[in-house]
């Protein structure tokens, strides 16, 4: 299991690196789809079917919106050599990557081995959810009953995002 997920994550990294350095914007957008659909396979291997359903449909809708934005404009990118300011940003990002990777390696060694239960609240949720909520799907019971505030907050974020998109594009309502 660990080997399979590592191989798929390696493919996702290659896809992301190609998406950053592509010359054509349409190729970059489609390479972003590699990362999204590889994530669907990772969710299925990690025994999370709810997340796989949501991620595959959301990724398709995101790709449709990005392609609609890119096709409406000029598609080439003026790929010039990095000048002085470009070199500064590359060196800054490499330094940041090295520092962050070192600290992450230090902190992830305190976690348990991949595969054993690492969270402390897992056992009370699994045993108590069926009796206290009465649902057979544990994830739905957790999302709507034990953590109902998060769901209400998510609904608020969606309403705010729709309001923001309509305001930025200045779409008029009915007269």
């Amino acid at each position: 299991m660990e080997i399979a997920i590592s191989i798929i994550t390696g493919l996702m990294i290659i896809g992301a690196l190609y998406a950053i350095h592509a010359k054509d914007l349409l190729s970059a957008v489609i390479a972003c789809g590699i990362v999204g659909y590889g994530l669907v396979i990772c969710f299925l291997l990690l025994k999370a079917p709810d997340l796989a359903i949501v991620q595959i449909v959301v990724e398709t809708i995101t790709l449709i919106i990005m392609v609609a934005v890119v096709l409406d404009s000029s598609r080439e990118e003026k790929f010039s050599k990095p000048d002085g300011q470009g070199y500064i940003s590359i060196i800054t990002s490499v330094l940041l990557i090295v520092v962050l990777f070192y600290f992450f390696k230090l902190s992830v060694e305190t976690l348990d081995v991949f595969g054993s239960g690492t969270l402390r609240m897992a056992a009370p949720y699994i045993e108590g959810a069926t009796d206290k909520t009465g649902s057979a799907n544990l994830v739905t019971g957790v999302v709507f009953d034990f953590r109902g505030y998060d769901t209400m907050g998510e609904a608020t974020v969606l309403v705010t995002a729709v309001l923001g998109v309509l305001t930025i594009l200045r779409i008029k309502g009915k007269k």
């Binding site: 809708i61 739905t140 609904a155």
Partner: protein, 171 residues
């Protein structure tokens, strides 16, 4: 002066000479094969979304998954038939009404626990029944239905605003 929202949009040629295409081809709809297949399939996709929402407490799925599937069926119809399918004009359609109503109903359902005398928000006060039946788990199916309607309307409004309505130029 706000450079992003404060001035009217310029004409078809950008400030540095970038091209802006005149009229998109995909807005006219697709070929006959795509239209016929969409007529056969779009209703089944919508029904599958309703099935995933209603059985949210028995099988994997729930409110969010069913909501995005329902939005996906509408997006399929609009992309296959072009932008004059549902008489979409340049104005905002009525999808935001469903979204706001569904959010309001969710908040009222959550606050209905307060009316019963207890001081708990989001109380699951309907009878729970036996695990595995369709009518069980208290108020969870009601939450699933209204969150599903809300998510579907939001994603449909975002899609319409970004893909169809963005041709607007003059104020």
């Amino acid at each position: 002066m706000d450079p992003l929202l404060g001035e009217p949009a310029p004409l078809r040629r950008g400030a540095r000479g970038g091209l802006i295409k005149q009229k998109n081809e995909y807005m006219k709809g697709m070929t006959v094969i795509v239209k016929k297949t969409t007529q056969l399939i779009a209703g089944m996709v919508f029904l599958y979304g309703i099935y995933v929402i209603i059985h949210g407490h028995l099988t994997p799925g729930g409110g969010f998954a069913g909501g995005v599937i329902m939005a996906g069926s509408f997006i399929l119809l609009i992309l296959a038939f072009g932008s004059d399918f549902m008489h979409l004009t340049k104005e905002e359609s009525g999808t935001t009404m469903y979204e706001n109503l569904a959010t309001l109903v969710v908040v009222f359902l959550a606050a209905s626990g307060l009316l019963l005398g207890t001081r708990i928000f989001f109380l699951n006060w309907l009878p729970k029944g036996t695990v595995g039946q369709l009518v069980s788990a208290g108020m969870l199916p009601l939450y699933n239905i209204f969150i599903g309607i809300e998510v579907a309307s939001s994603i449909l409004t975002i899609f319409l605003a970004l893909v169809i309505f963005k041709e607007e130029i003059s104020e």
